[in-house]
Structures are given as structure tokens and as C-alpha cells.
């Protein structure tokens, strides 16, 4: 189980399982996990975070950050969010065009969260799932820093 925080939602805490449910909770959830320390072990004590600047261009929100694990930097993350649309399948093409304008050949394919349910409403949990997948990917790659783009 992964516990994640996002500065975009400052008062929330996300708890994720891979391919499983995602819980959105209050920040007291961390305190709760500390209290439950006796019942499970925190794996590896490796904390990944991405930290950077947030740019707002009309309806687009672009966040570029450096992914660090401990003291070492592992990669760069770019997040693009299109504010007005909540249905994923409607705006994927627009997002793709926007990404192509500055990423060129590095533009990724459609994210897997879109895959199964095209017309479902997108929520913050989906963002966290994408981050989780990205971090796992980066964790698996050892020393060589690779730009992981979402």
C-alpha cells in the first residue's frame, strides 16, 4: 500500500493499492498509520518525491519537477492538466497536441487509467495512480536517470 501526498490538494492524503482501490482521506490519516505501526511494516523506507514549479497557462496547468529518491535525483516528471474537462476521452487529443508542442518526440501514449473506462469522470485519485505507476517505474530502473513522462 502506498501513501501519497499532493500539494495540489493540501488537506488530503491518498492511500493506494496497485490495481486496487484508492482512498482519499484527511491529513489525520498519517497519524492513524503511525498508530497502526505495530500491525504492518513500512517497506524499505524509501520515499520518492517530485518537487518543482507549477505553471498556469490559461486552462492548462503544467508542473515540471525533479524526481528524487533520498539524496539522489532519479528523473524529471512533467504533468499537464487541462482544467475544464472532466471526461478523459474527450480531451485526450487536445492534451496530446499540447504536449507535442513542447515535448516533440517524447510524447507518451494515452495513460492506462483512461484505458478501461473511457467515459468515466476523472478524479484526483486517477492522478495519484499515474504518479504511483511513474514512481514504481523509476524505482525499478536503478542508477541511470531516465526522463519519465506522464
Amino acid at each position: 500500500m502506498y501513501v501519497m501526498h499532493n500539494s495540489e490538494y493540501p488537506l488530503s492524503c491518498f492511500a493506494l493499492f496497485e490495481n486496487g482501490p484508492c482512498l482519499i482521506a484527511d491529513t489525520n490519516f498519517d497519524v492513524l498509520m503511525v498508530k497502526l505501526k505495530g500491525f504492518f511494516q513500512s517497506a524499505k523506507a524509501s520515499k520518492i518525491e517530485t518537487r518543482g514549479t507549477r505553471y498556469q497557462y490559461c486552462d492548462f496547468l503544467v508542473k515540471v519537477g525533479t524526481v528524487t529518491m533520498g539524496p539522489s535525483a532519479r528523473g524529471i516528471s512533467v504533468e499537464v492538466e487541462y482544467g475544464p474537462c472532466v471526461v478523459a476521452s474527450d480531451c485526450w487529443s487536445l492534451l496530446l497536441e499540447f504536449l507535442q508542442s513542447f515535448l516533440g518526440s517524447h510524447t507518451p501514449g494515452p495513460p492506462t487509467v483512461f484505458g478501461n473506462r473511457h467515459d468515466a469522470v476523472y478524479g484526483p485519485a486517477d492522478t495519484m495512480i499515474q504518479y504511483m505507476e511513474l514512481f514504481n517505474k523509476i524505482r525499478k530502473q536503478q542508477q541511470v536517470p531516465v526522463a519519465g513522462i506522464r
Partner: protein
């Protein structure tokens, strides 16, 4: 009597038994007749043993038949005290016979009198002469008399009751000085919350129950006033109970908000003179503990306001930081303007009262803002008790109830900001102070212009209904005497917190900053434009033709404020034309164009062969406007126009 036939009288005995009750179906229940011993007991009761034999006025009230004669007769005849003899009756019908005989006597007498009166020889009946009373009145007088009697009886009762009440009231007055600790405590309890802790009585004068979150305890103690000497005279304002307020709430306090023009010296900060205002007068009937407690509560509220303001002054980042020194907060809402909020608290020591008191200047203390501060802190109190906040789960902190959902529903920063009110007390009060200052400065600017410049006239109509952050004024620029024609310059000024927004009649919206020079320049340029607009309207009225009109001409000397405007009008016959150029700084310049045949110094040439060309307008000549007759510009213009339009004779 002897010749009269004997009258038969039939006698029947009364029913033996008295009816006790009649049942619903008509059956009668009889009282059992008294037995011998009961009868004897009844008779014995009627004997008055206290009467001696010598009393003559011994007739018992109301003849009742058998026993009364015996008792009365027995008492009269007896010489010894206390002995009663029964005189046995001869036969039971004795009294009946006597009564009947006396009745007979009376009837015979009456018969004799009536028979004599009937003859009218020896006795006549005459009616008593009296005034004929209308028959209705006599029952009325009777009613009146009976009513008087009954009212007198009721009045007696009421007077007795009133006497009793006045007696008790006077008693109360006397006892007032010796009144009870408990009754005074009851009075105290009607105004303040009290609780008993151990053997002490404590009270609460904080605003905590009204929603305040200030950490002061605000408890006062109620003590019995036992230093009274019963031998000496009790003083007038003696009160058996006394309150002891916390030492830091003694005296009285107020918050002073003032705006000063010059920036202070750094060394002068924090040296605000404490305390000038005299104590507010308490209501005449209120006891001394009430005034004391109210003053202490006011001190507590002022402390809370100041604590909140200073906390915000330190925490909130603003472009020009606020300075908090001792009991004063200084901020700069506008450059070269300083707003100072200070807490003036004086205790009731004799030392501080000896300090020289200086009179606060009229500009100095903004009472409106002080009042608004009190209102704002009360608003803040009410918010903690509003239905948005209460009721709340025991584990949740104080706050808007939607904030509890912000975690589980992953609110982002925009949504969080929309829930929370971001403005604190200090920001609000600074905004209000800025608005007040801007409004007074705008008013001063308009007034100074109006008094300085007479032509055209400037009128300001201030709106009565204002907001704390916005006021509005309508400014009209007119010429005296021509208000109906020349009304094209009408400005609506909306004075906000930092800017003044001007809406022109022609739809332009201009935003001016807080500098007063901008507003002044703008108004001056509008005044010069007004003159030219006035000429345009006047031309319409007088029948002159407008040849050209420009609000911002590009010719001639450059103005430092705004632009010059110009207009050219031609007379109805076309002979003359007037050209006007008016600028805010350069003033007005008026030229008249004459027809060619009126100018003598034109060079003759062979090009113009026809004489009709001499009727065209030719050169311009300037008018000496200051020598022109007329009260104001438009009047002079009207005279000029009428002078140049010849009358048809």
C-alpha cells in the same frame, strides 16, 4: 264589636316534620323531629347565662314562638344570679291566641277608622301635597343612593388596601439601607453568570459564551461587604456586595484609530499618550457593581480586538509591513499617510489621573472606525456560533463545516480559498480607513475647485447610501443660467478603496488613482471641454451652423493638462463665423470671420472678377474676450452671436 258576627278561623298545624330535601323524583325527605333531650338542649342553648335579673333591655332578637318568652320572663323575674326558672305555659296555643287577639284589635281599629273616614264628617283623607315627581325618577334616585353606598363601601376597602401598601413601601425604603446580601445577589444574577466554587462565588465577564476564542479567563469574584459599622449612619450608596475584578481589567480602555499625514520619527513610536476620554456615564439607576463590571468587560473586548489586530499585523504579509510597537499598530495605507491603531488603557490610579490631558483634534480620532472595530469583532464572535460551525463533532477543530470534507473530497486550493474568508480584521479596517481618507480627499478636491473657479460651475451631489468600501458622487459641470442647454458634462465618480472610477455621460470609463492631482487635472480638462460643448449647444439653439468640432485638437500650443478643444460655427446667413479654441491652461481664444466686403485691407486682384465673391467670408479677427460684456463665457458667446446675426427689419 258586639254586633259583629264571629269570624271563623280555621287553624291547622304545620307539618310535623320539616322537609330536609326534595329528591329529583319529587320524594321528600323529612327531618326527624327532635327528641326530648335534644329539645331541652336547644332551649338551654338559648339561655343567656351572663345576663343578671336587673337588666331591662333583655328582649332577645326576633320573637320565635315558644321558648323566647320563657327565657326573657325568667331572667326578669329572677333575683338570684344564674338561676333560671321555667314558667310553664297554660296551654300551647296561648301565644297564638294572643297574637290573633292583637291582630283582631288592629283590624277593628282599622275598620272603625275607615268607616269614619268614609262619612267625611269627622275625618278626611287628604293627600300630602308634594312635587309631582316623574315616576321614573324615584327608582333612579334609589339606584343612585344604593350605588353611592356600594361605591363608598368598595372605596373603603381599596383605601384600606392602599394604606397597607404605602405602609409596606415606606418600610421597604427604610430597610433599603439594610437590604439583604441575598437580594442583591439575585439582582446581580439577573445580569451576569455566576457559579459557586467551593465557598466562593465566581462570575464570568468574558465573551466566551458569545463566541469569542480569546484565552483570558474573565472571572470576577463576588464578596460580601462586611465593613459596615451599624452604630454610625449607613451611607447612601451602601451595597452589601462587592465585586472584585481581575487586576489587568481595571480602569477603562478604548481603541483609538487615527490618520496622520506626516511619517513619524522612529523614536516616537509607542509613545501614544494614554487616555484622554472621560469615563462613560453609567445609567443613573444602575448599581456600582454594574458599572464596574461593564467597564471591565469593555477593557477585555478592547484587549481582544488589539490582540487580534497585532497577531494579524505580524502574520499577514503585505507589501509595506505593519509595525507593532507596545500598544500601537502603525501601517501605511497610502504613501505619506500613516494609520495608527492604539489601545488606550488607563487604570484608576491617582497617578495617571494627574497626567496632563490633551484634547484630541477633530481629524485625529476616527470614531467611526473604532465603532466598526467593535462591530467586526462581534461579527467574528457570531461566526463561531453560526450554524456553519456549530454543531461540530468532538474531534473536529473549529471552522467551516465544509472544511471537514476538504480532505476526503480532495479540494484543491481554489475551493479551499473560496470556503475560508481570507480577510482578517486588520485588513478590513485598513480598507475602511483608506476609503474614508480617499472620500474626504476627493470631496476636498472638488470643493476647492468649486470655490476657485466660477465659470463654469461645478456641482457635486453625494449619494446618501454608501458602503464601507464604496461611495459615489455625481459631478455636474454647468454654466450659470444655461443649465438646461449645456449639460453634456456629467460625471459619476465611484470612490472605492484605492481608486476613483469615473463614468462619463458619453460612456467612457476612466480609472484614476488615489492621487488628488489626477482628479484635479481631469476635472479641469472637463471644464474646458464643457465650454466648447456649450458653444455647440448654444449654436443649435441660436440657429447657427456647426462647421467643425473637435475635442482634442492637434494644433496650437501643447497643454500640460489634457487637450484643447475647438469649434467653428457659422451664422444663419453665412456671413459670419465664430471660431473658439479652449484649453485648460491656455484659456479661451475666440476669432470671428468677417465677409470679404467688410474688410478694408484686402489686396485687390484681378482674379476675382465677379462681385459675388466679395460676400464670402474672409479673414479672421480676434475678439478681446476679457473686455466682452457678460457674466460668463456662454453669456458672452450668446451676446456675440446675437450681435453678429442682423435682425430682419
Amino acid at each position: 264589636m258586639s254586633g259583629v258576627r264571629a269570624v271563623r278561623i280555621s287553624i291547622e298545624s304545620a307539618c310535623e316534620k320539616q322537609v330536609q330535601e326534595v329528591g329529583l323524583d319529587g320524594t321528600e325527605t323529612y327531618l326527624q323531629p327532635l327528641s326530648m333531650s335534644q329539645n331541652l338542649a336547644r332551649l338551654a342553648q338559648r339561655i343567656d347565662f351572663s345576663q343578671g335579673s336587673g337588666s331591662e333591655e333583655d328582649e332577645a332578637a326576633g320573637p320565635d314562638g315558644d321558648a323566647q318568652d320563657w327565657a326573657g320572663a325568667g331572667a326578669e323575674q329572677d333575683d338570684e344570679e344564674g338561676l333560671v326558672k321555667f314558667q310553664p305555659s297554660l296551654w300551647p296555643w296561648d301565644s297564638v291566641r294572643n297574637n290573633l287577639r292583637s291582630a283582631l284589635t288592629e283590624m277593628c281599629v282599622l275598620y272603625d277608622v275607615l268607616s269614619i273616614v268614609r262619612d267625611k264628617k269627622f275625618m278626611t283623607l287628604d293627600p300630602v301635597s308634594q312635587d309631582a315627581l316623574p315616576p321614573k325618577q324615584s327608582p333612579q334616585t334609589l339606584q343612585l343612593i344604593s350605588k353611592k353606598k356600594s361605591l363608598a363601601g368598595a372605596a373603603q376597602i381599596l383605601l384600606k388596601g392602599a394604606e397597607r401598601l404605602t405602609k409596606s413601601v415606606t418600610e421597604n425604603q427604610e430597610n433599603k439601607l439594610q437590604r439583604d446580601f441575598n437580594s442583591e445577589l439575585l439582582r446581580l444574577r439577573q445580569h451576569w453568570k455566576l457559579r459557586k466554587v467551593g465557598d466562593k462565588i465566581l462570575g464570568d465577564l468574558s465573551y466566551r459564551s458569545a463566541g469569542s476564542l480569546f484565552p483570558h479567563h474573565g472571572t470576577f469574584e463576588v464578596i460580601k461587604n462586611t465593613d459596615i459599622d451599624l452604630d454610625k449612619k449607613i451611607p447612601e450608596d451602601y451595597c452589601p456586595l462587592d465585586v472584585q475584578i481581575p487586576s489587568d481589567l481595571e480602569g477603562s480602555a478604548y481603541i483609538k484609530v487615527s490618520i496622520q499625514k506626516q511619517a513619524p520619527d522612529i523614536g516616537d513610536l509607542g509613545t501614544v499618550n494614554l487616555f484622554k476620554r472621560p469615563l462613560p456615564k453609567s445609567k443613573p439607576g444602575s448599581p456600582h457593581w454594574q458599572t464596574k463590571l461593564e467597564a471591565a468587560q469593555n477593557v477585555l473586548l478592547c484587549k481582544e480586538i488589539f490582540a487580534q489586530l497585532s497577531r494579524e499585523a505580524v502574520q499577514i504579509k503585505s507589501q509595506i509591513p505593519h509595525i507593532v510597537v507596545k500598544n500601537q499598530i502603525i501601517s501605511q495605507p497610502f504613501p505619506s499617510l500613516q494609520l495608527s491603531i492604539s489601545l488606550c488603557h488607563s487604570s484608576n490610579d491617582k497617578k495617571s489621573q494627574k497626567c496632563a490631558t490633551e484634547k484630541p483634534g477633530p481629524e485625529d480620532h476616527l470614531y467611526v472606525l473604532e465603532h466598526n472595530l467593535h462591530l467586526l469583532i462581534r461579527e467574528f464572535h457570531k461566526q463561531t456560533l453560526s450554524s456553519i460551525v456549530m454543531p461540530h463533532p468532538a474531534s473536529a477543530p473549529f471552522g467551516h463545516k465544509r472544511m471537514r470534507l476538504s480532505g476526503p473530497q480532495a479540494f484543491d486550493k481554489n475551493e479551499i480559498n473560496s470556503i475560508q474568508s481570507t480577510e482578517g480584521l486588520l485588513e478590513k479596517i485598513i480598507k475602511q480607513a483608506k476609503h474614508i481618507f480617499l472620500r474626504s480627499r476627493t470631496a476636498a478636491t472638488i470643493d476647492s475647485l468649486a470655490s476657485r473657479i466660477e465659470d463654469p460651475q461645478i456641482q457635486a451631489h453625494w449619494s446618501n447610501i454608501n458602503d464601507v468600501y464604496e461611495s459615489s458622487v455625481k459631478v455636474l459641470i454647468t454654466s450659470q443660467g444655461y443649465e438646461q442647454i449645456c449639460k453634456s458634462i456629467q460625471l459619476q465618480l465611484n470612490i472605492g478603496v484605492e481608486q476613483v472610477r469615473v463614468v462619463h455621460r458619453d460612456g467612457r470609463v476612466i480609472t484614476l488613482s488615489h492621487q488628488e492631482q489626477e482628479l484635479q487635472d481631469f476635472l479641469l480638462s472637463q471644464m474646458s471641454q464643457h465650454q466648447v460643448h456649450a458653444v455647440q449647444q448654444l449654436a443649435k439653439v441660436m440657429g447657427w451652423q456647426v462647421l467643425s468640432f473637435s475635442n482634442h485638437v492637434g494644433l496650437g500650443p501643447i497643454e500640460s493638462i489634457g487637450n484643447a478643444s475647438a469649434i467653428t460655427v457659422a451664422s444663419p446667413s453665412g456671413d459670419y463665423a465664430i471660431s473658439v479654441r479652449n484649453g485648460p491652461e491656455s484659456g479661451s481664444k475666440i476669432m470671428v470671420q468677417f465677409p470679404r466686403n467688410q474688410c478694408k485691407d484686402l489686396p485687390k486682384s484681378d482674379v476675382l472678377q465677379d462681385s459675388k465673391w466679395s460676400h464670402l467670408r474672409g479673414p479672421f479677427k480676434e475678439v478681446q474676450w476679457n473686455k466682452m460684456e457678460g457674466r460668463n463665457f456662454v453669456y458672452k458667446m450668446e451676446l456675440l452671436m446675437s450681435a453678429l446675426s442682423p435682425c430682419l427689419l
